[in-house]
Amino acid sequence: MGSLAAPLVEMVGISKEFPGVKALNGVHLKVERGEVHVLFGENGAGKSTLISILSGVFRPTSGAIRIAGNEVSFHSVHDAAKAGIGTVFQEFSLVPTLPVFENLYLGRELMRGPLTYRRAMLAGARKLFAELDFDIDVTRPASSLSRAQQQMVEIAKAFLSNARVLILDEPTASLTERETERLFGFIGKAAASGVGIIYISHRIQEFQKIADRISILRDGRLIATVPARGTSEPELIELMTGRAVDQVYPKIAHRADGAVVMTLEGIRTAGVHGADLEVRAGEVLGCAGLVGSGKSRIWRAAMGLQPLQAGKITLKGRDITGASTRALLEDGVFFLPSDRKSEGLQMTASARANIELSLLDRADVAGPLGLVRPRRSGALTDAIGDKVGIAKSAMDRAVSKLSGGNQQKVLFGKGFGDDRDVYILDEPTVGVDMGTRMALYQLIKDIAEAGKAVVVISSDLPEVMNLSHRLLVFAKGRIAAELSGAAITEENVLKHFFAETESAA
Amino acid sequence: ADWFPYDASKIDPPFAADGKPWDVKYVPLEKASKPWKLCVSFPHMKDAYWLGVDYGVAEEAKRLGVKMNLVEAGGYTELNKQISQIEDCVASGTDAVIIGAISADGLNKVIGEIAKKKIPVIDLVNGISSPDISAKSLVSFYTMGAETGSYLAKKHPAGTPEVVVGWFPGPAGAGWVEAANKGFMDAVKGSAIKVLEPKYGDTGKEVQAKLVEDALQAAPNIRYVAGTAVTAEAAQGLIRERGLKGKVDLLAFYMTPGVYEGIKRGLIMAAPADSMVIQGRIAVDQAARILEGKEVVKHVGPKIFVVDSANIGKVPPANILPPDGFKPVFN
């Protein structure tokens, strides 16, 4: 029997090798009861791998795991769950075709005799969501939820298991401030009741609010475990990257006289109830708002990705209302989707093939009959790879085997094949580490300063505030405020997040 | 021109395994007394053979002035569908049922049910083992196989040098195939014929062509290729391509327009004719006779004769083949 004195979780000398990759190298991790332990590190540092081992997805190549002093060996997620380990994975584990409450109880259904007890599960799910203050109809199928709502369900799922150890792998990646606050409240409560929590995030500003200790991983090794209190952000970044960093957000020069390149007027679509805006050259236009506020969907409608009910769209003075996605892309608009796995990348194809795909409409790449010139296309993809900072060796690997950061760079790379006038970037840095993030910000700066129009849609408030020259705050399908320059402050933005229909257009 | 009287062979006692064949002249009714409704079920209508039967059935129905509704199951693996079709046909009201069976045993229960309703059932072409059958219009494929076999055996009696025969009986599992196989094997027993391992395969030309080609490859000393009509038809091109004309001869164990044409042109050596058109005609006549309470020959089939280049000029094709350009008639 383990003793109370033993740490709740103890991972000793954990190593994990994937073919060709040593993802973890002798990592030690200790989590005490009631502790919130943050794992921090760049993309591909091995955070997800480490917690996957703890939750029974992978088996370690070497090393031992002790729970409350007892050595354990998990063969499946089920084993780990039985030992009291509840996990919110980075990749969602919801079944799209099942309703929310069945997802919650999946694998641990409430039973009445041999039959499942549907009523009890419904009630339990409603109660939990009420406690968490998440507003989701539990009978809706998971497929109808937004990413953020899915994330909430994931979190609820982990809480439902009454786990001794709660693992959250980037739970706030698509949450806005409000939901994040509520989540933190819950984490606090859970910790107070003696649950050990492992929390993975790239958002440094969150750590001070919840963390007790922070373990920093780099290249599969544990660099240090430091107390959260008393370790500053720059220190953490330095530990993570191995180099000093003084500025995360670049200063982007603003061309005030930029011409209007794109206008949206009276846009109505599912989730958007009338909004007008202009996009100008040489300017970064930010879009902020809560989940479901319409900040993404207005652009998706403009891009022809969801049906436009009403409104008029012009591009460079031409009416392009109702044009197809392809026509818009040909007319010089680039759209970077928020979900790179489902909408952005060919996961089984190489990084090179992914980038090449965006080059094939160029006359110098694909000649008459679409005959591709391999040399020309190779040179161009290499140049783009250099520009966005993908290592040469990574160019020919399948995208599914690249880290999230590199995947995002490939996605960015698809925008540099052709001359574009408008870059619409939906969650440009979702799930991306600090190093990559800074590289991507630099790219955004370069684009904007080259006189292109940039639209940044983001749930990461500091990001969208710091990058934007002009910021639109969305609320309930309308534009609640337009802020610019010095008026872009956290206070101002938050004030309009919950606005009622003040700017009925 | 009327088709009757037709040389036929009556089995007596009928339906008995030890029944003896008697030569008879088959003569049908002049006209039916009522426009009886007949239900006809075929295994499929995807080749000229069943088309020929269809022709016979349809023509005889017209001649006698009875109505028919024909269904086809779509292939020899569709026993279940054939049963359903027969049931549907009976449900829609019928006076008699004529069946070209997919399985010799598999329809016995349905036939039993139909017979209980006092609806006569006639076994056409394929053979059915049910005791509730009222009449049979068929020749046995055993005999067809045997006729083909003995044609060869007569040419190469025991004591003459051994000749090798490639044998392609048709799709595995079909009753007529197994029967023909047995008949052929029995007939060549004790002669100078050596039959290679039977090569089963669907009766599609491409399948059969491949089988023959591979067989010729495996055993270059093959002297005869015998098998389904499709086999013989498909092999003509191969013989031509390989310059084997005269070195390898083709035989089919039943007749189709393609085989008829082949014999005429000297590309196919011989095939027994079972006059499938007449089998269809007789079945309809039997049904009418039973319904009208007239005397009926219960177990009868046209007399089998081997067609080869010697006698092909004398055989009227309308009795053993559907006419050119005949389209299937379903009702």
């Binding site: 996990t87 075709t97 099942l98 | 329809l107 229960k109 079909a174 299937p328």
Partner: protein, 346 residues
Amino acid sequence: MPTTTIAEDRSALRRANAVLSGLRAVFLRVGVLPFFLVATLIAFSLVSKEFLALQNLTNVARQSVYLILVSLGQMLALVTGGFDLSVGTAIALTSVVSALAMVTLSHLLPPDMLWLVIVLGCCAGLAAALVIGSINGLGIAVFGVSPFIMTLGVQSVGAGIALFLTGGVPVSGVPYEFGDVLGFGRVLDIPVPVLVAIVAASTIWLVMNRIRLGKHIQAVGGNVKAARLSGVNTRKVLFIAYIMCALLASVAGLLLTARVGSGETNLGGTIALESIAACVIAGVSLHGGIGRVENVVLGGFFIVLLQNGMNIAQIGSYMQMVLLGSLLVLAVILDQVRYRLLVGER
């Protein structure tokens, strides 16, 4: 009096509109199948009065039993996101093996143990299907072979074995009592096969809606990774689904053997594709995760009813192929339209 006419026109129009929007609502809720069914019933009852006769409908009910049983199993495979192309082989092998077992046993055992012979024979048939199901399950669940290929391969192997066992000749000598009860028997004037189908459908309904396994089958089909991460033993679930599928086909095989009174290799030739068609018309998603037992039963019934109607209406069989194929495509297109309408509404 033009005014009244206009008023009448208006109210007629309004009524027509109400009916239309009612139909639209039904279409959105339950899909295209009910419309097809009603259309079929109306069309063929106009063509032939025999069609709606009780005897004919009973007939159709009995004929559709086999397809319904197989479709229920197929639905399980489809809901896991797979396929089972080997159901036809399961039927043929069941038929051959059970018949062979009965014939052999009835020689070995005394005649008064006839029922033992029949029960053991049925068990042998089910066991053969169990083997097929296990091999499918093993390949798909453990080795991760694509269901299409796995069941295609097993289909070929199974058909070869069935032919090998019988030499292609029907196995006759099956006890009459077997056919009398399972093939033609009636209880409370309901044909025994129909009763068997009712029991099977109810069981599968229970499994899919009220038992943990059913939820897990749906979860595996909806998102196998997610199911695994939720602690579902996905391999076991897949394995069981394919075994259940084979067993349901096997039950259909036993009923068919009883019906035809002999062991036959040539049963169930196209039933794999037909059962998939029945499921798809019934709204089962080929991507897995979605499928309702009630609808599948109706779907199987519909296909047989349609064939029956076409036979009775004396539609030539070539035309039948054209009609059936077109209808299948039409059903899926309409389902797609429905899906778009549903999504557009939210």
